[in-house]
Amino acid sequence: MCDHTKNIYKPQLATIEAMIDETPDVRTLRLVFQDEAVRESFSFRAGQFAEYSAFGAGESTFCIASSPTRKGYIECCFRATGRVTEALRRLEVGETIGVRGPYGNSFPIESFFGKNLVFVAGGIALPPLRTVIWNCLDWRDKFGDITIVYGARTEADLVYKHELKEWQERGDVRLVKTVDPGGNSPGWDGKVGFVPTILEEAAPAAENTIGLVCGPPIMIKFTLPVLEKLGFKDDSIYTTLENRMKCGLGKCGRCNVGNVYVCKDGPVFTAAQVKGMPQEF
């Protein structure tokens, strides 16, 4: 926690330095803290999240989607779907938003050193893995094979299209991209099929491999059995839970799954941990 003010609910101010429209309704904001000391001291780990405010509308919870290895800014990525996200979307480059965080636990990336990595993401859930992907690519020699399986409903729904291209062109990453049946245009150069099916087809080796999965609940539900079938153990599969939050600090009472506070005990959990929770997420 880099915020040393006493008021735990008080955000830091950040300027929107750049924005990218990933899809018609999903936007990335690149943010730079206005206070120089905060800019210098702000540090986070891949997997942590923050509360972003559009003043007058309120706060919304998103992961920090940029990599901790890229200093001087953070990025978030959101779909405009409610009061706060619509207000965030109305802001222009150069305008101010509030940021509280970083909160929650993170992916234990150091414990993945020497292993292969398989990232599996669906739709708008690539951002929480994209922070890890870039973190690992920036430390590329620490890992074995890196596979990314990413899918969305349609081509238009794929986020970070420019980066997918970059990953596709790198010799040291295997990118398998897919869209749901019917979601492809005639020129589509990826797979067609649901993420769990395409993952099974891609069949990454489970030996000495960590699986990292983020997606809508339905995708996770069908992806975990596939990983299991491929030979992945529950304690080498990581995912994030994305419950609704307000405080992000373990106080406001809404993000719990059983006695687990997603905001403090998570959002990163192993599949083994998730299976041990009451099925209420």
Binding site: I8, K10, K246, G250, K251, R254, C255, G258
Partner: protein, 334 residues
């Protein structure tokens, strides 16, 4: 040595505290009901009647400003609320179920991150608890480990005595300092406490209930328990230890305040995701969370039960859900 205070001296003491600039919060008549509210004179103090709402708002207001913001040509300015300026407060006349509650909430409001809004008020408040001499048929403090004469959570504790007046015991160091400061209002000597109230409730097997909750997340009983629940949230708002809250902005893009306000896990949209997915999409899942949070999760996290047996949820539920009946039914299960 036992100290006593007459009712008149107690009222005079409150007058003095008010004169000294303290905020005094006490049960007082508000129209046809009694509520904890700041009093302007010792005469307004109503003793021995359980206020309609709990005393939690002395520390955790129904709605409070946590920052203000403004935007002009130079950018956005965020201004803090000065928690240091919260007034020194005396909470007087709280029955054991209300007096014990704030200490239960210390755990969640200081867990890792300190919520200064709650904790500053706690630090600046002296709680003068009052033993109960009358219970109604919804009272059940004795079922959850408290009693009508329990001084837990009080800094000072008053016990009504025969012939009027109160025994006055210091419970904490803070209470002792307070008593020493205002010793002139007290008298020494013996006095016979009035018999305390006797709620009809027998102690619940809280450990056994927790065990059942542990292994019965999917029990069909949840539907039965919550079938009638209207999701109105009255139980949560009246509860001395329910503490869920929302954070909302009020104002425009250029000027306004961010506020923390009470919320309730019984409300349908409490856990609703942006995508429309809702992990607790039906009322019985929400009611289950309420019971689980009080009798299992809070125990797991902080080693305490999130219920003081005040009975307000029983008195005020519009559809007549009685948490005691729910707990007794759970307790009766193998």
């Amino acid at each position: 040595m036992t100290k006593t205070i007459t009712e008149q001296k107690l009222r005079s003491l409150m007058d003095l505290l008010l004169k000294e600039g303290r905020r005094v919060v006490a049960p007082r008549q508000a129209g046809s009901i009694v509520l904890y509210e700041p009093i302007d004179s010792g005469e307004q103090l109503v003793l021995g009647i359980m206020p309609r709402r709990s005393a939690k708002e002395t520390f955790f207001p129904l709605c409070e400003t946590i920052l203000t913001y403004g935007k002009d040509g130079n950018g956005v300015m965020v201004s803090d609320v000065d928690a240091g300026a919260f007034p020194e407060t005396i909470l007087v006349g709280a029955p054991p179920c209300d007096a014990a509650a704030p200490a239960v909430l210390d755990a969640v409001f200081s867990w890792d991150y300190n919520d200064e809004f709650f904790l500053e008020r706690r630090k600046k408040t002296i709680i003068i608890g009052l033993a109960c001499t009358a219970a109604d048929d919804a009272c059940f403090c004795t079922a959850v480990g408290l009693s009508p004469r329990d001084d837990k959570g009080s800094d000072l504790f008053l016990t009504p005595v025969a012939g009027g007046g109160y025994l006055c015991d210091a419970v904490t160091k803070k209470g002792k300092v307070f008593l020493d400061t205002y010793a002139s209002f007290l008298a020494g000597g013996e006095a016979k406490p009035l018999p305390s109230a006797e709620p009809a409730a027998t102690p619940l097997d809280l450990a056994g209930i927790k065990d059942w909750l542990e292994s019965n997340f999917e029990s069909p009983l949840w539907q039965e328990f919550a079938d009638r629940c209207a999701g109105c949230g009255a139980c949560a708002f009246l509860c001395p230890v329910c503490h869920c809250f929302d954070i909302v902005d009020e104002g425009t893009e250029t000027k306004g305040a961010r506020r923390k306000s009470w919320d309730a896990c019984g409300f349908g949209k409490f856990t609703n995701h942006a995508s429309g997915h809702n992990p607790r999409d039906i009322q019985n899942k929400r009611y289950r969370n309420r019971i689980m949070h009080k009798f299992k999760y809070y125990q797991d996290k902080f080693g305490q039960t999130l219920c003081t047996g005040c009975g307000r949820c029983v008195r005020s539920c519009p559809v007549g859900i009685d948490i005691r009946a729910v707990l007794e039914e759970i307790q009766a299960k193998p």
